[in-house]
């Protein structure tokens, strides 16, 4: 409770600072709108459905790409961990591509797929896939051999070994890889939405882009706030519970 109070106080202070900077006319109001203007924009956008719609479209793109990245990345990671030949080939490629900032995929995606949904999906998948591959591979390689040996003597083999021993043992690594994949997917989708200006569906990135085109600073800041809040919520609602479950089970400190 006390921690929550302090956090609220901190954010109230930030808003107050912002309000003060606006009133002191440090920057032109065009560049720095009042908190109230931003709130007004959010209220209007929420009421006319723009915000809801854009968030929905963005989340749909994000989840689709993210799921494809995980569904592809997990088995690839298992393959690279299990067979040297895959480790030397796919593993090396994953390691290389993971270091590539995901926005770098955008020009390629635009040329291949044009201004389309496919282009955005491609960028998100590329952002997620490689970090999931790497994390799964690392996780499986770090499973203490004694777990395997103990399971072997109890009669576990093949699929049972993979699903009941190796994957659960590698879970902490895999989850942190999924979390990193999520962060990459989110970043790459925003990059994609800002660059891929299609007319079929306006996501948050596109709202941000048109905010800039119209020099509507209240819109730019408001959308940025929404993006930050979604990122925070994903962490608190999805990843935090999984991580704290793992910490409780494994006895690792959070």
């Amino acid at each position: 409770m006390k921690r929550l109070g302090l956090a609220i106080l901190f954010f109230a202070f930030l808003v107050a600072l912002w309000e003060w900077a606006f009133r002191a006319r440090i920057w032109s109001p065009v560049l720095l709108p009042a908190p109230e203007q931003v709130a007004q924009y959010l209220k209007n956008a929420a009421e006319d459905g723009t915000l809801f719609h854009a968030t929905l479209i963005t989340m749909r793109r994000l989840l689709t790409g993210y799921l494809i990245g995980i569904i592809g990345g997990l088995p690839l990671g298992l393959l690279t961990a299990r067979w040297k030949i895959f480790h030397d080939t796919i593993g090396t490629m994953a390691l290389g591509l993971q270091t590539l900032p995901s926005v770098c995929w955008v020009p390629l995606a635009l040329l291949w797929f044009g201004q389309s949904e496919a282009a955005m999906l491609f960028v998100v998948v590329m952002g997620t896939l490689w970090s999931v591959v790497i994390a799964t591979d690392t996780g499986v390689r770090n499973v203490p051999p004694i777990y395997r040996r103990a399971a072997l003597t109890m009669g576990s083999k093949r699929l049972h070994m993979w699903f009941r021993v190796i994957l659960p043992a590698a879970l902490p690594f895999i989850v942190s890889g999924m979390k990193q994949g999520w962060a990459f997917a989110w970043r790459s989708l925003m990059a994609a939405e800002i660059f891929v200006t299609i007319l079929t569906g306006f996501g948050l990135g596109q709202l941000l882009h048109y905010g800039r085109e119209l020099s509507a600073m209240d819109q730019v800041i408001a959308i940025m706030l929404v993006i930050v809040v979604i990122g925070l919520l994903a962490d608190k609602i999805f990843f935090s519970p999984i991580e704290s479950f793992l910490h409780r089970r494994w006895g690792t400190s959070p």
Partner: protein
């Protein structure tokens, strides 16, 4: 069944010896390391009778774990073979369960889940049966109250008790134990000696127990086999015919232990002399 009975004619005695449960025949194993090839086991032969408790004692690095792993089927010998019930061992299997020195419990499962792990791999049981059996063994090792505990919440002694329950639950005929109590304090260890002897007596398991603790070996084993290092060989055999249950602090037991200790030291010295030459 008790072995190495009193006396009697040779033929009578031979008739009494049950067929061996485990037969290790001329097993050799070497490892290539950065500092050359290590001959970990040199033509080891040994047989273990049904329901016998055999202890392997030796300094660390003399190949005890290697031998146990080969019996388990976790490693392959370079030459020689291991027979279990007359059939060659090629792969690990649940009729020969291993209990390791460090806790090999799975941290993603709770205590009960760990005990259930091996049971779930046993066919022809209902889930209800499995749960009952798992609870029975947790009770046997005195951990009923901790069935929902996470592994890291248990003390070292409790972990080894769960590991013991997990090894016993699928009811293996052979139990291979690799220094299972080495990391525990003396008090916990003494309790576990009592528990283990009681379980062994009531469930008639064949146990091969590895330790570097001579007293522990004398307390638990029907026979104590002394290993010598570099290359690993069985140097001497000590039958222990003291009544059970045995108390580790018993005087007779201490006398046996010191005799074994003496032998252990003596070939330690001959080895040192050989190195000095």
């Amino acid at each position: 069944m008790i072995f190495r009975h009193k006396t009697g004619s040779v033929t009578e005695e031979l008739a009494l010896i049950p067929p061996s449960k485990l037969a290790i025949e001329n097993v050799s194993k070497s490892f290539r390391t950065s500092s050359g090839t290590v001959l970990a086991l040199d033509r080891i032969s040994l047989s273990v009778a049904e329901a016998e408790f055999v202890c392997l004692v030796g300094a660390s690095g003399c190949g005890k774990s290697t031998l146990l792993n080969i019996i388990a089927g976790l490693e392959k010998p370079d030459s020689g073979r291991v027979l279990a019930d007359g059939k060659p061992v090629t792969t690990p299997g649940r009729e020969r369960l291993v209990m390791f020195q460090e806790s090999a419990l799975f941290p993603w499962l709770d205590a009960l889940g760990n005990v259930l792990f091996g049971l779930k791999l046993k066919p022809n049981l209902t889930n209800r049966d499995r749960l009952d059996v798992a609870r029975y063994y947790l009770e046997l090792v005195g951990l009923t109250r901790f069935e929902r505990a996470n592994i890291h919440e248990l003390s070292g002694g409790m972990k080894q008790r769960v590991a013991l329950a997990r090894a016993l639950a699928p009811n293996p005929r052979v139990l291979l134990m690799d220094e299972p109590f080495a990391a525990l304090d003396a008090l916990t260890r003494e309790q576990l000696y009592g528990d283990l002897q009681q379980i062994w007596t009531s469930r008639r398991k064949t146990i091969v127990f590895v330790t570097h603790n001579v007293r522990e070996a004398a307390c638990l084993g029907d026979r104590v086999l002394l290993f010598s290092p570099h290359p690993g060989r069985i140097q001497e055999e000590f039958p222990i015919d003291l009544p059970r249950p045995r108390d580790i602090n018993n005087v007779d037991l201490a006398a046996r232990a010191s005799r074994i200790m003496h032998a252990l030291k003596s070939f330690g010295q001959t080895e040192a002399a050989a190195v000095a030459k």
